[in-house]
Symmetry: C2
Subunit: 370 residues, 2 copies
């Protein structure tokens, strides 16, 4: 974790002011970009990644070798057309793919670990805006994001209203609900219960809280999928045995059901590419997110100064950030007099639908980006 | 854990045959009873408890001192009227409140731990029926249960069709879904990831996997409550500080939100009264539960021999075992020609509604029990 030679980096020329009252000195932002910035610098799209995403939107992940997380959406001729647009995606501050985060070396020469300051979604956006300043991009053609990326898109629109012409927020919310916080708290407790966490100071110890992080990922992963999608994909199907025999109940505690095996795989795979402390900090930032509270308690006031056009997209099977949350944002934008379109898409796969093949989503994105 | 002097006990006079193919010798069932058994022995009601419940339905819990878990439903003049009925509730086999379970001493003189055989819901019912035999109760006035208790009630009706006149199954299902299994698997992995679990052999070591069990309980607890109920009860309310000051974000990892504090309390409280290995075995039994599969794949066939009247109750905010699951059972009972009434109750609190104050539930129970 820490530095990541695969990406471009930008060091902020000033200490990043944080909502918690501290500042973060010498913060570095790692980012990827795709397509060519126009001479007028008016064709840039800022893509914001989700909790466990990163800047590798449309290029292979350097740790896993897997394709970028939104290859189907971003590329030449794709809905976000890199033949026309300059797409930038930055690893969030607090992350673990090259941007400054808890795994980075702090002022005392040691990794920050839990001495890293607690950050917010707005802090992430401040860092992204500093990056845009550094790149000489005054006004974005669009800011786009799903899930936590959508929170950043909304936060940018609210806090830097002159910086984006278009705001596309997918499968997201303007505030974390009690249930959202509850699931994150389970994940954090799972990490912190792992003795290998060592109060966060596991860097260089040869031990990391992989078991705790894996449990956290498993719990979170359930919330990304719909009940119906899980039933369709796994149902009560039994896992074939390692010896090749057809699945049967073991009357033991092996992964008998395919869903168990799948979750274990998701959990353990995650630990190979993600830092546990980053997981703590980023979930905390999401739980703190309440765009209305930041703006005097009325969400419409958050968007009072906006000049952007908005598009909100939700999925009918998303129970993490249900359609009602998007509608809540749309009503606030209406009250603020902002132009907004809103689409609820039908999809069987729950929250993760925004990452999956979905022709109607492609059309909405292409149409809105223009 | 293990023996529990507060309850009556019954030692099975034969080795309990188990679905896994093994038998359990010298199994002991701990049970509570309320009200007087009639001379004709025809007024007995078997109450089946849920995953983390126990036999203390209407009397104080010996470990926590708290009232019984269904005091509001069971007692003189209450919907399950102990002035008229003899109510029996047995700790399930595999449990940790006096019935034989993984914390009990096995044939080698040591606690079973993970050498305890994997059990099923039907195995629990077999043990209960053996207890009824021991008590000379041929036919129950009713078998009643919520959640896993409802699974036992349905299993008793299917496998011992002559043993109950009435079957009341509340907030339950005839099979565990992929999502149900997924949440349980997260809990099991949390327990087994805790080094204090020690492969299950923690008894007498002075260490128990309390942290892992607490995380498991936290994850499960979220599934017992509805999103709306959590929002109503906690929303994004901040926790008051130990020093009495009003809640404010700490920009740290303390329990800032009331929902975090509540979940932590639920998790840690649970470890004081529950055995982690029992939690593994009971969740496994629930995940294995598929009443149709036990009976050739067609749920109606499970009820082919029944002579009982049925009542199914679901709650509209229960997303753990949604109304569709009860309806599925009702359709099977219709197909089997069994008399069945079905009520979906409106309640804000999700799955746990069956344990909470609900006047309409009281009326349904009273009316059906007769």
């Amino acid at each position: 974790m820490g530095s990541n030679p695969a990406s471009s980096t930008f060091e902020l020329p000033f200490p990043l002011p944080l909502d918690g009252g501290q500042t973060l000195a010498n913060a570095v932002i790692a980012y990827e970009s795709y397509g060519t910035l126009s001479a007028e610098r008016d064709n840039a799209i800022l893509l914001c990644h989700a909790l466990t995403g990163d800047q590798f939107v449309a290029s292979p992940h350097p740790l896993t070798g897997k394709p970028g997380w939104w290859e189907r959406m971003v590329g030449p001729g794709k809905p976000i057309d890199t033949g026309r647009f300059h797409v930038i995606c930055a690893n969030i501050v607090g992350g673990c793919m090259g941007s400054t985060g808890p795994g980075s070396v702090g002022p005392d020469g040691k990794p920050y670990a839990m001495r890293f300051p607690v950050i917010t979604i707005r802090d992430m956006v401040r860092a992204s805006v500093a990056l845009l300043d550094g790149l000489g991009i005054e006004r974005l053609h669009a800011v786009v994001g799903g899930s936590m990326g959508g929170m950043q898109a909304l936060s940018l629109a609210a806090n830097f209203p002159e910086r984006a012409e278009r705001v596309l927020a997918i499968a997201t919310t303007a505030r974390h609900s009690a249930q959202n916080i509850a699931f994150h708290e389970v994940g954090r407790q799972a990490v912190m219960a792992d003795p290998d966490w060592q109060g966060g100071d596991y860097y260089g110890s040869g031990r990391a809280p992989d078991k705790g992080l894996s449990v956290a990922r498993m719990a979170a992963h359930i919330t990304y999928l719909s009940e119906a999608g899980l039933t369709e994909k796994f149902g009560r199907n039994l896992q074939d045995r390692p010896d090749g025999s057809r699945g049967a109940k073991s009357f033991g505690f092996d992964a008998d059901f395919q869903i168990e095996s799948y979750l274990r795989y998701q959990g353990s795979g995650f630990t190979q590419r993600f830092d546990a402390n980053s997981y703590l900090y980023i979930t905390r930032a999401m739980d703190y997110f309440d765009l209305a509270e930041e703006h005097g308690g009325r969400l419409a006031d958050a968007f009072a100064g906006t000049t952007a056009r908005f598009c909100l997209v939700s999925f009918d099977s998303d129970w993490l950030y249900p359609t009602a949350e998007s509608r809540h944002v749309v009503h606030a934008l209406n009250a603020a007099g902002a132009p907004v379109s809103f689409v609820e898409l039908s999809a069987p796969h729950g929250h993760d639908s925004f990452l999956l093949e979905h022709a109607a989503l492609d059309r909405v994105v292409r149409g809105f980006i223009g």
